[in-house]
Every structure is written in structure tokens, then in C-alpha cells.
């Protein structure tokens, strides 16, 4: 009987294919792509049917074909029925059948993938996407680093992108009652400026529209690595490009062995669970084996390498969580001290404009604001309050002086310190001078920080008397420019110690700036990008926590254990070796042990597969990369990029990828997951979005997934990579893996494009973060940290530190790094190794440069590319025919150098020179200059004063020395420079002839 049913099912499949082709042109086109014979049969050969595809037509015949192109061989009849008779088979069983070889598919890889994708298309062919509008456009949805958008498309072209206003169909918003008033957020997804530049980026004239090869790169002859960044490109076909890349990958393995290829990505590509680097790219890399270029936590630095040693939370990279804090702050807090904290620029992270309204509520409630920052940053500009301009890199001295006042005048929570902390007596002795004979008075700090003693004393007293929130970094819970200097770890450590003295966790005493966390439902599961998407990577993503279980897929693994620390990449190539320290949030201890490149047994790197190209704008002392790129040991450089920018000009082969509007993806706004657990707590509403493929890829560009797939197909790995799925099929699998199906159907979700997760009832909101700790209760924050073994005594009681308490003197440093003079267990103030105390340098380079995370771009994303962001005067200013990066300086410093507003200036030190446009104002004090990091443009020009970059990559000027020896902590904000008016006549010639225009 079952055999009869199976026969009927196999017969019916023919009809289903024929009907789908008749009804759906896209299906018909896809079916027409291949002519072949596909056999489906039982393993014993007793039953089967084969399907002949010819010019978009299909017919079938019962029986066994002597030589099919593709054969799907199934173990037995029940299994065959389970998969073939059921349109939605259990994905767990499908993956199990594949992994245990119950179902085997034989044949040429690209035909296998085509057939499996064709079978999946039966299910997706009739689906409707987006909402047709009255004006003839179709309204799609997407989400970006800066928030979600509607995308209106007419005739295959994007007309506009707009914010999404929620409707009465969407879940209601939360309301917070505070001080006799009620606060409910806008029914709108507010977005960052860079989100609204997306259309201009899609249609940028800097788009790479076809594959290219450097003209003097001959894979079979002279490769001329010395000409990278100099010679131009020629257009080649996709087949040629992919053949070169696939052949080179094989050659590297054969000639040099595993590890010869490094795969190196930029951190924040675009958004989504499929096309993200932690998803599609990692799966690609794992199937090939690659030397990992391991990132340092460059936005967190001082917190991971410093603060974590006093309170733990390594799984948040040394940052606290923030559940319940928006409500607590509005109800209880009297003053917010912003310290290196500019949420109006960085939007927390990915938070659009969501926190802004809440900070304006705080202003309405009369909460006082203080801003400690070398720059009167946009947050200070909007909110007002006292600006305390501090000299960069001296923050820890001011923190010590504040704590001195507290200790001296008894303005701290003595009971809390006695019961919830350890080591305070030793710390107090240091503050009061018993340890080293130096009292850390406000007067003591004045010569370091430039902040008058009476200002520090006034702040300390007010802080000691009032219920205060300390806002460190954009999200308020850590990060911040002060953690990225030579004293970054000292500062971050100080912040934790200050909180400990003020009774961290008590009502109104906490960290934050109303960016985190709103009262949302964090129990609803939807994966964030760090959950690893389709990667199957269980070590370097958070996939194993939920995603790997929720979305059954075939795991992958990188068998190459060799790694290069990202900050040391140039040395690894040029010197052939380097040492680094690990970013691994699973313990406090992991960071102490060095790792070395090369690793015994693995090949040094001879091929670089570069995904994106942001190094010049984002890595310290980045002109090092030029020599690395031109090093003779680097035999091949591939760059997969959307735009011709940054490092793309140093590649041998350029593979043009498309933007997220030209491919399918699915994602939740601002949900990072992993080390940034429950980051959607920055938002007013949790929004999960279908990232529609709004238009076809421009030119010959392809999605990242498709490029990876087509390379892997040349190695027979396409079926394993894709599991027979298109990107849309993977979106469905992510959808199914989440809790969405219990709330909205796949069909409705595809059409509408988003779902708003309802806020919990007021009774079930999370209590404020650290309240459990202040009250010595069982932890009630819904975060999976510390790990069970990391509690000092009872599970759920206390912190990750050895004592379970906040430690004024760090036990983990004392145990594992006691002899490190740059990171003592007792957090002494040690002046920066590049700063005001380095007399030899400051005489030549008297200006301290702060390069902050940018406001209008997301790192390099949306900068350059002739995006409309280039027209924002606070981002770039056009002089002549070029948009220059903006350097802010005080009029006094400008006058001393005969610099006028919007003059071009040469910013330089021993490491290099960058041309910027001067912006004169009193928002920076004399002696400090402020600029963004992350220029996407790198446009080197040779002058009689050496090379200058016209693009604005100021990381050319920043030091690559780690903050503290024995760490990988970068310190770009300890950077001394000089500035002069730029005489353009000094320019001799461009080092680069490679322009898009030169390509036929």
C-alpha cells in the first residue's frame, strides 16, 4: 500500500512542477535554467521515477534511469513518504536524514542545488510580498543598522524609503508612570540618518557592477603584488572571476596547506540573519578552512580588559545589563552624569532615534545633566546641562578625585560598600594618599585633566548627595571614547568603582541614560545577528545557545585553528609573525593567555579573502596595510565588496556584491544577541522585519550568499552550503525557528513585512538591573550570565568575580597578571603613554585628537559612495569637487595656525597625514581636536611632504600600541597631531591610477 502511495506521489510531482511552471513565470524561468535528468529512487533500486527537464518542460517516467544527472537516493519507503508526501517536513528530520546518510543526493553539485532549490520554489512561487499602494508603487520593508524602513518601488526602481508608523493593528505601546506623569513613546520606528541614505547608496556611482581583475595580475604568471593599489582594473566575466578564485583556493591548499587563506571581514556589514558575515560568510569560510582574523572588542576595550576584573559580566564584554532602567531612571533619578557618552550620535548601537524622546522626558522632569567630554557633543548640545571639557585620556584622574571627595567627606554608601564589595580599605588608602603619599584631591587632578578643582568638587558633592545615573558610552552602559585611549581600562575600572561607592542598584542609582532598557518582552525568541544565522558555527557565534537547536541545520567547523589578531594583521604579513590576546567573553581568565601566529602546523597566510574594505578607516595606524597588501608573500587578494572604496583598490580580483535591498533577508531591529544580549531593549517597540528583496541586483552584482555558493559549487560544496535552500528558503527557516509562527503566519508576515512584539503587562516587567545584587537576592535579570560555574558560591547569587562582590582591588588581575605594571590590581592612575605627559611628542604634536564613532554613518557604512550623507555639513564638507572629512577645532588653535573656517588642513604626525576640512567652533577646547573615525574613502596622494589621504582615514594617525601590555586593547584616542593649512600645490601625483572610470 505504502509503495503504491509513493508511486502516486512521485507521479504527482511531475504535475505539480508543470502546474507551478504554468502559473508562475519566475518558476518557469528557473526551471528553464537547466536541462537534465533527475532520478528519485529507493536505495535498493526497487522503486523510482526519473524526471527529464528540457527547455523549461518536465516529463517523467517510472523506473530507474541508467545515467541520471542527479539522483536522490532514499533509504526506504516510510522515509521517502515522510519527505516527499509532506510539503512541510520536520526540518530536524531532514537534517538528521542528511547527516546520517539516509537520504543521499548524487550528481554535479550545481545541478543538485538547482534541483533542490526548484523543489523549494514550489512552496514559494505563489507567495505575495509587500503591499501594493494606490500610486502604483509596492511598499516593501527592510531593516538596517539604523532602523527599519518602508521601501517604495515602482517598475523595479526604488522611489523612496520612509520611516514606519505603527498602526492600530500593531501591538500597543508601553506606558511608564513617573512623578505624577505618564510617558508613552511615539508610535513610530525612528531611524538614524544613515538609514535614510540607503537609496542613494544603492544607486551610488561607486557601485561595483561587474567582476574585475587587476590588469597586471596574471594568476598563471606574474602577479605583481607590488602594484596593488596602483594599477587599474579590467572587467571580467563572473565565470572567469569565480574560476580564478576557486582555482586559487585549491592551489593554496595544495601548495601551502590549511590556513594559507585568511578570511577577513569588516564588522558591521548590513543587517539580517542570512547575508550577515556571521552567517553566510562564516559558513562559506568553514567549508573551506581559513585563518581567522580575530577581532578585538574595539568599542568596549577598557571594559573588557579592565572593568570586567572588578565586577565580571565578561559575557557582556565587561558591560552591565540594563533591564528595567528606563522606568527606574524616570521615576527615581535626580541627575545623569554623561561621561564620554553621546547617545545622540551613536544611538546606543543600532537604536535609531529611539532613546532621544526618553531623554527629553528626563529634561521635562527636571533631571539634571552633566557632560564630561572633551567635546560639547550633540547629546550635550541637545539636552544642555554643565559641560566639563576634560583633556582626553585623563578621565581616570578626575574619577579618582571625585572618589577622594566622597571618601574624605563621607559621601558614599557605607553600608553597601561594607556588605557588597571587597577591598575598599585598600582603595581608600590609595585615594587618601596613604599608599603613595599623594592625596588624589581635586587639586591633584587639575594639572592632568584641565578641569578646575572646584568644578570637580562641586560635581562630587552633588553626585554624593543626589540619586545619580552614570551614563558611560552611547548606550550608557559602557563603551565610550574614553575606553579607547591609553587610560581606557583605568577609566572603565573607575566607573565600576564609583558605582560601587554610590550603592549601585538602589533606586535611582544606576548606569544609563534612558537608552536601555525599555519595558519590552525579552522572553519572545527571535535570533539576533550574533546567533550566527545559517553559519552552523558553534564556537565563534552564539548559535549553540538557541539558534542551532531552534533551526536545525548542518553544523560547520573551521578546522584551521590558526588566528591573526586583527590589530596585528599587517605585522603578521610583513614580519611573518605576531602575538595577540584573545577576545573571548566566556570567562574573565581567557584574555590573559597570548596566542601566536603562525601556529605550528598551519601554513602562514598567502591569500586574503577580504569581505568589505574598512581597515584604513577603522584600524589604528592603518597605513601599515599598504605594505601588507604589497608584500610578496601575499599571492592573491580577493575583495568582495558592494562599492569601490577603502581597500577594494588593493585587490587582485573584485567580486561585486549587492546591497540588502537587492536580496532576501530577515531580521529584528537592533537585536545583536550574543555579547549584546537583549539589545532591542533600546527600542520603544520590538520589531521583527522581513527584509524584502525590493529590486533585482544592480548590474551584474550578486548577493553575498550567491557569490559564496557559486564559488563553493566549483568545489562540489554547494549542496552542503545551501542545504538546497535559496536565501528566501533560509528566511523561512529562520522564521520557523523563532516564536513568530505562533503570532503571525508566514504569508501575512511576507505581505505586511513586520511584526511588533507586544510589551509585557506592567506587573511582569523586569526589575531594575543590579537591584538583586544591592539587596543580596537571587539574580532576576533574564540574561545567561555568569556561567553556572562562575558564581562564587550559590548559583544565581552575586557576581562573576572570585568573591561574588564588586572588588575594589581585582582578584583576577592579582592572580593572573600581578606583575603587569600597566594594569595593577589596584587601579592606580597612570598617565597616557601618548598624551600631555609625553613631552618629546607634545612639543612636536601639541594637539590631542579624539576620533569618535561617527554620527551620520555606521562606521564606513553610508559614508563616501557619494551617498547623501556626504552632504551633511557635520559629516563632510565639499571643497572643490571633493567631500572632505570634518576636523573640529577651537578658534584659538586655528588662529595660531592661520586656519579659517572650512579651510583644508593637513593633519599629521610621525605616522602619516590626512587632509581634512576645518570646522572652527567653541564646541572643543583649545588643545583638543575632534573628528570621526571610519572614513570609507581612502584616497592616497603623493606630495612633497609624503603621502596624504584625501579620504579622511584619520586612523592613519592613531597608535597601534595596545592600551596596556598583555592585551589587544586599541587606543586610538591617545593620539597627538599637528595641523596646518594645506597648500594644495604640495600635491604631486596620485599613487593610485585605479579608478572605476578607467574600466572599459
Amino acid at each position: 500500500m505504502k509503495r503504491t502511495i509513493l508511486k502516486a506521489v512521485l507521479l504527482a510531482l511531475t504535475r505539480v512542477l508543470q502546474l507551478s511552471a504554468r502559473r508562475h513565470p519566475a518558476f518557469r524561468d528557473f526551471m528553464r535554467k537547466r536541462n537534465c535528468v533527475v532520478q528519485i529512487r529507493l536505495k535498493d533500486g526497487s522503486l523510482g521515477r526519473y524526471y527529464t527537464f528540457q527547455n523549461g518542460k518536465v516529463k517523467s517516467q517510472a523506473g530507474i534511469h541508467p545515467k541520471p544527472d542527479v539522483a536522490m537516493v532514499i533509504k526506504d519507503v516510510p522515509l521517502a513518504l515522510k519527505f516527499l508526501a509532506n510539503p512541510n517536513p520536520d526540518q530536524r528530520e531532514v537534517v538528521l536524514a542528511a547527516k546520517t546518510f539516509k537520504v543521499v543526493i548524487e550528481g554535479r553539485d550545481e545541478l543538485v542545488v538547482w534541483f533542490l532549490q526548484l523543489m523549494n520554489r514550489i512552496k514559494t512561487a505563489g507567495l505575495e510580498f509587500g503591499t501594493p499602494m494606490r500610486d502604483g508603487t509596492i511598499r516593501y520593508t527592510t531593516t538596517t543598522n539604523g532602523g527599519p524602513l518602508y521601501v517604495f518601488v515602482r517598475d523595479g526602481r526604488i522611489v523612496r524609503t520612509t520611516l514606519i508608523d505603527l498602526t492600530s493593528d500593531d501591538a500597543p505601546s508601553w506606558t511608564i508612570y513617573a512623578r505624577g506623569r505618564s510617558f508613552t513613546p511615539y508610535r513610530r520606528a525612528t531611524v538614524s540618518p544613515h538609514a535614510l541614505s540607503l537609496k542613494s547608496m544603492v544607486y551610488s556611482d561607486k557601485r561595483l557592477l561587474y567582476p574585475m581583475k587587476r590588469v597586471d595580475f596574471d594568476p598563471n604568471g606574474a602577479r605583481n603584488p607590488q602594484n596593488r593599489g596602483i594599477s587599474g582594473y579590467e572587467r571580467i566575466s563572473w565565470d572567469e572571476a569565480l574560476d580564478i578564485v576557486a582555482t586559487e583556493i585549491i592551489r593554496q591548499k595544495r601548495v601551502h596547506g590549511p590556513g594559507a587563506m585568511a578570511l577577513y571581514q569588516s564588522s558591521h556589514h548590513q543587517w539580517g540573519n542570512i547575508g550577515y558575515y556571521l552567517s553566510a560568510m562564516l559558513r562559506f569560510g568553514n567549508l573551506l578552512g581559513f585563518t581567522r582574523v580575530h577581532p578585538n572588542p574595539d568599542s568596549w576595550e577598557g571594559w573588557y580588559w579592565g572593568a570586567a576584573h572588578h565586577f565580571g559580566n565578561t559575557m557582556r564584554v565587561g558591560l552591565p545589563g540594563g533591564y528595567g532602567l528606563v522606568e527606574d531612571c524616570l521615576q527615581e533619578c535626580e541627575m545623569i552624569v554623561f561621561w564620554a557618552s553621546d547617545p545622540e550620535s551613536t544611538a546606543g548601537v543600532y537604536g535609531g532615534g529611539e532613546g532621544t524622546q526618553r531623554r527629553l522626558w528626563a529634561k521635562q522632569l527636571g533631571i539634571e545633566f552633566v557632560h564630561i567630554d572633551p567635546h560639547l557633543n550633540p547629546t550635550a548640545q541637545l539636552l544642555g546641562g554643565r559641560w566639563i571639557p576634560i583633556r582626553p585620556g585623563t578621565d581616570a584622574a578626575m574619577a579618582a578625585a571625585i572618589m577622594y571627595v566622597w571618601a574624605e567627606e563621607g559621601l558614599y554608601d557605607k553600608e553597601y560598600v561594607r556588605t557588597r564589595t571587597t577591598g575598599f580599605d585598600e582603595w581608600r588608602d590609595y585615594l587618601l594618599g596613604a599608599t603613595d603619599g599623594v592625596q588624589k584631591t581635586p587639586e591633584w587632578q587639575e594639572s592632568e585633566t584641565g578641569v578646575p578643582a572646584h568644578v570637580v568638587r562641586a560635581l562630587a558633592r552633588q553626585w554624593g548627595k543626589k540619586k545619580t545615573y552614570l551614563s558611560a558610552g552611547g548606550a550608557g552602559l559602557g563603551c565610550g571614547g574614553a575606553c579607547r585611549s591609553a587610560t581606557g581600562a583605568q577609566w572603565a575600572r573607575s566607573m565600576i568603582l564609583m558605582m560601587a561607592m554610590q550603592g549601585w542598584g538602589k533606586p535611582g542609582v544606576n548606569m544609563g541614560n534612558l537608552q536601555c532598557f525599555t519595558p519590552l518582552d525579552f522572553s519572545f525568541y527571535f535570533p539576533g545577528y550574533a546567533d550566527g544565522g545559517i553559519s552552523g558555527e558553534l564556537v565563534w557565534t552564539a548559535s549553540s545557545v538557541n539558534n542551532y537547536i531552534q533551526m536545525p541545520h548542518v553544523l560547520t567547523m573551521n578546522p584551521v585553528k590558526q588566528m591573526i589578531p586583527r590589530q596585528r594583521f599587517p605585522e603578521a604579513i610583513i614580519e611573518g609573525k605576531c602575538e595577540g590576546y584573545l577576545w573571548d567573553g566566556t570567562s574573565v581568565e581567557a584574555q590573559f593567555a597570548p596566542f601566536n601566529y603562525p601556529m605550528q602546523g598551519f601554513s602562514p597566510v598567502h591569500m586574503l579573502y577580504r569581505y568589505g574594505g574598512s581597515s584604513f578607516g577603522t584600524i589604528a595606524n592603518s597605513s601599515r596595510f599598504i605594505e601588507a597588501y604589497r608584500h610578496p608573500s601575499m599571492e592573491c587578494v580577493v575583495n568582495q565588496s558592494i562599492w569601490f572604496e577603502g581597500e577594494a583598490q588593493f585587490a587582485d580580483i573584485i567580486l561585486p556584491a549587492c546591497t540588502l535591498l537587492e536580496r532576501w533577508d530577515i531580521g529584528e531591529w537592533a537585536n545583536c544577541s550574543g555579547y549584546v544580549h537583549d539589545s532591542s531593549g533600546q527600542l520603544n517597540h520590538r520589531m521583527i522585519l522581513m527584509q524584502h528583496k525590493c529590486i533585482e541586483p544592480l548590474g551584474e552584482s550578486k548577493s553575498d550568499y550567491q557569490i559564496f555558493l557559486e564559488i563553493l559549487q566549483r568545489l562540489g560544496l554547494g549542496a552542503l552550503y545551501s542545504e538546497g535552500c535559496s536565501e528566501l528558503d533560509w528566511c523561512k527557516r529562520v522564521f520557523d525557528s523563532s516564536e513568530l509562527p505562533s503570532r503571525i503566519s508566514w504569508k501575512a508576515f511576507l505581505k505586511k513585512g513586520y511584526y511588533v512584539v507586544p510589551a509585557p503587562s506592567p506587573e511582569t516587567r523586569q526589575s531594575p538591573y543590579m537591584r538583586w545584587f544591592a539587596e543580596d537576592r537571587q539574580k532576576d535579570a533574564p540574561e545567561p550570565l555568569p556561567m553556572p560555574s562562575q558564581y562564587a558560591e550559590q548559583f544565581g547569587k552575586g557576581l562573576q568575580t572570585p568573591s561574588g562582590k564588586i572588588e575594589f582591588v581585582s582578584k583576577t588581575i592579582e592572580r593572573s597578571d600581578a606583575s603587569n605594571p600597566e594594569r595593577p590590581a589596584l587601579n592606580r592612575y597612570i598617565p597616557a603613554w601618548e598624551g600631555l605627559s609625553t613631552k618629546d611628542l607634545i612639543d612636536r604634536y601639541p594637539l590631542q585628537m579624539v576620533s569618535a564613532h561617527p554620527r551620520f554613518s555606521f562606521h564606513t557604512f553610508s559614508d563616501g559612495k557619494n551617498s547623501v550623507i556626504n552632504g551633511v555639513a557635520d559629516h563632510r564638507v565639499r571643497v572643490g569637487d571633493r567631500d572632505y572629512w570634518v576636523m573640529r577645532l577651537n578658534p584659538v588653535d586655528a588662529a595660531a595656525r592661520s586656519i579659517s573656517h572650512h579651510d583644508l588642513v593637513r593633519v599629521f604626525n610621525d605616522r602619516g597625514a590626512v587632509i581634512c576640512v576645518a570646522d572652527l567652533s567653541q564646541t572643543v577646547p583649545s588643545g583638543v581636536v575632534k573628528i570621526f573615525e571610519s572614513s570609507a574613502e581612502f584616497n592616497p596622494l603623493m606630495t612633497d611632504q609624503g603621502m596624504v589621504d584625501l579620504g579622511g582615514c584619520v586612523n592613519i594617525l592613531t597608535p597601534s600600541r595596545p592600551q596596556v601590555q598583555g592585551t589587544e586593547a586599541s587606543a586610538p584616542n591617545s593620539c597627538l597631531v599637528e595641523i596646518e593649512r594645506w597648500k594644495r600645490s604640495a600635491a604631486l601625483h596620485s599613487t593610485s591610477k585605479s579608478t572605476l572610470e578607467s574600466v572599459p
Binding site: 494606490r134 532621544t356 578643582a453 547623501v868 583649545s926
Partner: protein, 316 residues
């Protein structure tokens, strides 16, 4: 029968009257924009969505495509007041003011620029071709010249969207602080709001009668005098909280305030170039301090002002 007809006629007439009133009601309602300068943080979403809307898009009858470079139909001006550390900034979004007595309409003469009944001013993308002179006709500099199309262009209040039922122009929707609000209301209602919220327009002396209004415009147009008061208390110099500070011009008191916990005080909304003021600072524990402050083009932060111990302390 007659009565029935009469009733029917009556009903018809009544319905027509109601319709007319309704149409007039709509016709009476006009678009206005209100921008709160104190809430503008230079986020630029307003400028960016306008470019998103117009670059590469042609709206026949409304606007031809905006060039990708060189046009800022919404443009944000910056003013920085004071000096370190007492500094504040103000951002002023500027755009076509949709004036009721628009000089550009007068200059166009032939209807190349016209004001719709809902108050929105449109440059006809056909009729205005070649009229570079219209760029200079706007005293606010809000008209831009499209060299390629030989066309004057400017922000059109997103009329192309409002006519399709959109509730507000895109710049209003995109602003994260709510600094921009648009109102479709009768002029009388608008004028009530102008009085109530102390709204102003740019260049009122031009008598162009803009429909774009500003709140807290003083942040951009006026000046402040500020200072930080310190004093030696118990052997250490400290910020002096609670000192009484009076602002006088001649013998006339203009304003009075108290220093905050940083000892700071600030008198705002003072006219630029309004001359010499005197500041009088008093505190029960210290001698009175008096100093002059001159206001020129810029605000005046007086820096630290130190109060001394009285020469002969008063009896308690």
C-alpha cells in the same frame, strides 16, 4: 405634492450649502510648519528624506528631479554661542517659507510660481524653465538653480504626497525630537498658536508672510551673558551655589537669577549688540561683586568671577 417637492428642494439646497461650507472649510485650511529651534539637534533626517524624495524622482506638475549634488532644499544652519565651557548651540532648519506674500511669486509674474489654496507655494517645473532670475527673487535663499534642467527648485512641502493622502510632509515624520510639526489649519487658528507659543518667522521685516514659524528662535538670534561664580570657603576655592545675580542696564534691572551648584548663571534672550550691562552678584557670606559686560555680535561668557570675603564681616 407641492409640499413634498418643496421639502426635496429644501433638502437639496441644504445639502449643497453644506457641501459648499465643507469645501470652503477645506479651502480655508492651509498648511503651516512650526519648528522648535530648542529641539533641533542637527540630526539631518529632514534634509536627508527630502533628498531621498526628490533625487532621481520626477513629479510632473510638482517638481522635476533634484540634482544629486549642490542642492539643500532643507538646510540646517548652526550657531554656536559662548566660549568654553559655557557653550550652547542652536540649529536652524531653513527651507521655502511658503510665503503668503511671496516675493518669488511677484517676480515670476506669469504664474511660473504660484500659491495653492492650501498655502503651498509651487514652482511650475514647466513654466519656470530658464528662469534663473527667480533664484534671487527669494530673500531667504531658499530657491536653488538646477543647471542641468535650467530650472529653479525648492522644497514643496511634499505636496505630491499630501495630495495622495499622506498625513504630513516627510521631514516632520523623520524628525526624532518632534522639532518639526506641520498643521493643516485655518489661518485664524494658526495665529492663535503664534500668539500662544510666541512663534516667530524669519525676516519679518521683509513682510513676505511666511507659513514656516519658529519656536525658541532666540536660541539662534539672540545672545546670553553668563559666568561662573567661585569663592574661597574654608581654605579651598569652591563653586558658589545660590548667589543672587542681577542683570542691569543703567540702573534698570533686566533680570535676576541664582547660581546653580556649579556657580553658573546665564541671562538669555538678550539682543545682539545691545551694549553694556552690569552684573551684580551678592551672597550673604561674601562681598558684593559688580562688573560690566558688553554684548556685541556674540554672547559673552564672563568666565570665573571670584567673590571675596567681606573686609569687615557682619555680625551673625
Amino acid at each position: 405634492m407641492e409640499a413634498q417637492r418643496s421639502l426635496a428642494q429644501h433638502k437639496q439646497v441644504h445639502a449643497r450649502k453644506r457641501a459648499i461650507t465643507f469645501i470652503q472649510g477645506i479651502a480655508m485650511k492651509k498648511w503651516n510648519m512650526v519648528i522648535d529651534v530648542a529641539l533641533c539637534e542637527n540630526f539631518n533626517n529632514c534634509a536627508l528624506v527630502t533628498k531621498d524624495e526628490h533625487i532621481g524622482n520626477d513629479f510632473p506638475g510638482y517638481a522635476a528631479p533634484q540634482p544629486s549634488q549642490g542642492h539643500d532644499w532643507i538646510r540646517i544652519e548652526r550657531r554656536v554661542r559662548g566660549r568654553v565651557p559655557m557653550v550652547d548651540t542652536a540649529y536652524l532648519p531653513t527651507m521655502c517659507n511658503h510665503c503668503d506674500a511671496a516675493p518669488c511669486i511677484a517676480a515670476a509674474k506669469d504664474g511660473a510660481i504660484y500659491q495653492r489654496t492650501d498655502g503651498i507655494v509651487i514652482i511650475d517645473p514647466q513654466k519656470a524653465r530658464g528662469r534663473k532670475d527667480l533664484v534671487d527673487a527669494c530673500p531667504y535663499g531658499a530657491i536653488w538653480w538646477n543647471e542641468e534642467l535650467q530650472l529653479p527648485q525648492k522644497w514643496i512641502f511634499d505636496a505630491q504626497l499630501l495630495d495622495k493622502g499622506w498625513a504630513m510632509p516627510r521631514c516632520v515624520q523623520a524628525c526624532p525630537t518632534g522639532a518639526m510639526r506641520s498643521f493643516l489649519i485655518e489661518d485664524e487658528t494658526m495665529q492663535e498658536m503664534v500668539r500662544r507659543d510666541e512663534l516667530e518667522t524669519l525676516g519679518p521685516e521683509l513682510k513676505a508672510l511666511p507659513r514656516v514659524y519658529y519656536r525658541n528662535l532666540y536660541r539662534y538670534t539672540k545672545c546670553f551673558i553668563g559666568g561662573s561664580v567661585i569663592a574661597n570657603r574654608g581654605g579651598a576655592v569652591d563653586c558658589l551655589e545660590g548667589a543672587r545675580v542681577r542683570l542691569l542696564q543703567g540702573s534698570k534691572q533686566i533680570a535676576e537669577t541664582k547660581t546653580d551648584f556649579f556657580g553658573d548663571f546665564k541671562f538669555d534672550r538678550l539682543e545682539t549688540s545691545s551694549g553694556t550691562y552690569s552684573i551684580e552678584i551678592s551672597h550673604p557670606e561674601f562681598s558684593l561683586a559688580r562688573l560690566d559686560a558688553v554684548l556685541g555680535e556674540q554672547s559673552n561668557y564672563l568666565g570665573e568671577i571670584r567673590l571675596d570675603q567681606p573686609v569687615s564681616p557682619k555680625a551673625p
